[in-house]
Symmetry: C2
Subunit: 186 residues, 2 copies
């Protein structure tokens, strides 16, 4: 379990950093939106990612706590804090899934080179991380026959249509960046 | 607390029903999407609401359990199940908030009378329910000085820009419905 916690820590620290870059990218788009619909659309995505950021600010220290302090015996469904950890990880698996889709949606709109390059980079990493989290949690959930039932298990099987990286919308490499610099996003 | 649980039960049962109506409305829109972007956009909202539906399928029986069986003494931060209930309720407060925004976004697109009437109805109820849940949880979180910190409290204060019903996008009452009947949605 220590090894898995190590990977979870890396993945959720990486995605926290990616959210910050993404919402920084959305900020000027919201301020300069051409109408109410566009403003609400990007503001809504901004808020959902901000909610995820707030949850990750609680989850990451909880992962650290188990990674650094807990004994193997604490990884047990009789430990309520461990159950909470599993529950949060299962929730954030879907946070990652939804983030990949937010990035895909943004890739349709932000086709300039600077933004599309950064978005595509984050999209590929998030997609791989989502697959790995899904795989790891599947094994952990099987291993720990705990009381918690993943309410999204059905979703994984029947409605998980995330496209792999190869089928991404094409990035228009030729399109020039529009007043956006990579520096301002990283 | 029994009275609050009663209201939570009503609100989350109502919203569960509303999600089902909403995703039934999205289904043909996804199938008949004009391009990949439109398909991903509605499919993404569909999936987020479906995730919420799965979580509510766990939360509603948990509310019932406390409503019907638990003693006043069980409403305590030393009761782990009660903490879990509070944690889930805090999460679903944001589920409701995001639902209002999904409905607002849909109202920009589905301007025919049948769909806009139903959307507006669900929007008004969800907006009121969100406000009530927020108010009730604020009091409960103060009353029970439990270990759980609402990771979204910051969000409530600084980024909660939900428009009240009066500032909704206008429903074009004149526009005729396009192959959609209210009957197919209810």
């Amino acid at each position: 379990m220590k090894e898995e916690l190590n990977i979870f820590f890396r993945i959720f620290t990486t995605t926290k950093d990616a959210i910050e870059k993404f919402i920084n990218m959305l900020d000027p788009v919201i301020r300069n939106a051409k109408d109410d619909h566009e403003r609400l659309y990007y503001h809504h995505i901004y808020e959902e990612e901000e909610q995820r950021l707030s949850r990750l600010a609680e989850l990451i220290p909880l992962i650290s706590k188990f990674e650094n302090e807990k004994e193997e015996k604490d990884f047990s469904p009789t430990n309520n804090e461990f159950n909470r950890l599993l529950q949060e990880l299962n929730l954030e698996k879907f946070g990652l899934h939804n983030f990949v889709e937010h990035l895909d949606l943004a890739l349709f709109k932000f086709t300039d080179e600077a933004r599309s390059t950064l978005l595509k980079q984050m999209r590929d990493i998030s997609y791989q991380d989502y697959q790995q989290v899904k795989e790891m949690l599947k094994k952990i959930n099987e291993q720990f026959d705990h009381a918690y039932v993943d309410p999204h298990a059905h979703h994984d099987e029947h409605h998980d249509h995330l496209a792999p990286p190869s089928s991404l919308p094409r990035v228009k490499q030729s399109e020039k960046k529009k007043g956006f610099t990579v520096g301002s996003l990283i």
